[in-house]
Amino acid sequence: MSRRRIHLAAHFPGVNNTTVWTDPTAGSQIDFSSFEHFARTAERGFFDYLFLAEGLRLREHRGQLHDLDVAGRPNTLAILTALAAVTEHIGLVGTLNTTFNEPYELARQLGTLDLLSNGRAGWNAVTSSDAFHGANFRRGGYLDHADRYVRAAEFAALSKALWSSWRDDAIVADAETGAFLRDDAIARVRHESRLFDVDAVFDVPRSPQGRPVIVQAGDSPDGRDFATQHADVIFSLHTEFADAQQFYRDVKGRLAAHGRDEDSLKILPAATFVLGDTAAEARERSREIALAQVRPQTAITYLEQIWNRDFSGYDADGPLPDVEPDTGVETAQGFAGRHAAIRARVDQLRAQAAAEKLSIRELVIRLTAKHTFVGTPEHVASEIDRYVQERATDGFTVVGHVTPHGLDEFADRVVPLLQERGSYRRSYDEGATLHDLLGLPPVAQEAAAR
């Protein structure tokens, strides 16, 4: 039996404490040269795609801008389209919100990226509904939390209909007869529901890959349903081997109900890595990086977000504060997913700190700076391969910890070993689309939309 293929995505370091700006080699997070270097490295390493997150509002902490971590980033679509100009093969995937965009515009923007990159575009569709982010947009926090995935699913369906509304051979450009379009070149797309009232004629021709690849990252039951229905890739957080295998079985098992093949949905969890010439050296580096990722102030701030109290007087190397959290008002806005169940969370943290005898900083290192793969390049390559061969993942979304050079050593030292194992590409096929790179089935021109 042939070896399963490893698929890798490269995540540009983000605006949280994973990204170490205090490293002497750290460069600008906004200059185009940083993005260009990162993209060229990922392409040199034959990654399937590079991946950029989205900013809707600067992070705040207790009512003020969060100033300890990297802040400030480009508009996702504009930077990806600029990167299309300096790359030839690699996929270009960005996170874009279904709540604070409208389908017609986002579909034409992604369609533009897809055409200019010759079929290399992808969209990580995320949902949001909170008033904090909504405050930067026309409609504010208009969407009920319960409707997040209703809107996301309709948004995705509507986008797919728009992308498939142009025939591949729509443009005839017959200079003699004067016909630019063929008669039934473009289908009208109508979508009327509680959330949308669209009667559209799309204005972007169909791309070489039919439509952008759709990625999904949410882990809730609604998120999994959305993924099995609409997504081509899941960007999961399940990296522990047994857990990853279980998630993989669960999600792939749901596909048949939607008439989908197992290979039509790839699962690429986020993974960090630390390399060393020996296992001991890698462990030592991992420890150094963790200490840089969780500086004393970072650790205190982390607890302040959960407790919603001022802990500036506390020693990060000391025990957890012996005070109750303030659950009255949420102020740690912009930190996705940290709002709920404060008390339960505090109890859980206290239990963990007590059981493992952890200081504040050591606890936060355990929680936010545990590196997925730590070891020699041989060890990391064999682990990645094991996950894929034993059906725990289809590959990984690799995140470096330094901008823009963090991916270099992975491309230089791990990728050649993956290639030697025979489960990773040695070159890109000429003209391959992102669908092709990911081994996804071709996109049929949906007859229903026509």
Partner: protein, 396 residues
Amino acid sequence: MPHRIPLAVALDGAGWHPAAWREPTARPTELTSAAYWRDLARTADDAGIVFATIEDALSLGGRSSEADAETRRDRVRGRLDAVLLASFLAPHTRRLGLVPTVTTTHPEPFHLATGLQTLDHVSRGRGGVRIVAGSTAQERANFGRRADGPTGLPASGRVEDDPALLAAFREAGEVTEAIRRLADSWEDDAIVRDLETGRFLDRERVHNVEIAGEFFSITGASIVPRSPQGQPLITALAHQSVPFRFAAEHADLVFITPTDAAAVAGILDELTAPEREEPLRVFADLLVLVEETRAEAQAVWDRLQERAPLTTDARVVVGDADDVVAEIGALVEAGVDGVRLRPARLPTDLDRIARLVAPRAADAGILAPDTGEPTLRERLGLPRPTSRYARQEVGA
């Protein structure tokens, strides 16, 4: 010392003549391809053109007033998002300013602002924007969010006679101010990377914009740090008093469409705004078809017109390069700060502008040479705006 001006070009589809796509030199099946736009941008860049505008609209038929714009099959159809196209062209060009068109009714002002700031970052200070007010019925149906809006110009032809159009111009003004304010929201030195204090950011130098207008509100600062030009170059096309006022109030540069050089003075009078720190730059538009000889140009023109008669707001010049240079010279005499050429055919008339018109305009002493200023604003003699928030600090 004679007055010298820069040349700009306006790029759209297969050119500004509706039959241009049927010409043998046209590339009608490539109008949304990377190679086509890269070639156009490089031609303009190499010719020393100061900037290229890129048209856009949020519907298949664009801003055409034809009732059958969405269904007719004999016109160029299909386009790319102009802000993204400009971002794509930035790494392919060295000097050329990139000025995409944006409509202001439907898009999120926050996304527009961060997109334009990013264009300025990726082009290292060559980003601009052309602001368009209003929407069409098909645009509104495509979005499905706002049922009401203008239905083209009122019978009088005057914007001020249609409340919906007036509202659209007010909204365009709000969007433009949001773009400028968000561009200012990070002061230039907001990123401190201070190892001593552990602060990446000086939060005192990043400002929530707190916009609460008639059409939308925005609370936070931009997500994008300040860009090389500080603010993108803001431009608008204007034909009559409300748009003139809009341009004088909100734009750095306006495109005008004088019927001839003699009409320029009257327009310049209308464009004076009392409260500007920096005078509004005025570029006159010319739609040009250039051949080696006048006779050849006329023959091509007749063929195009027979296939699809052109209706245009701009003065049309059909002739050889000297004819175009003479027209540019007359506009220079009349006091404009620049001329934007709309090629009747793409790529042909852009090639002719690059190969024939620009060199002859230089020989005639009316073309401003490129003296190497790094940003688009600087090439146009415009200062880099200081962040309004930084100014407040100094004043306090």
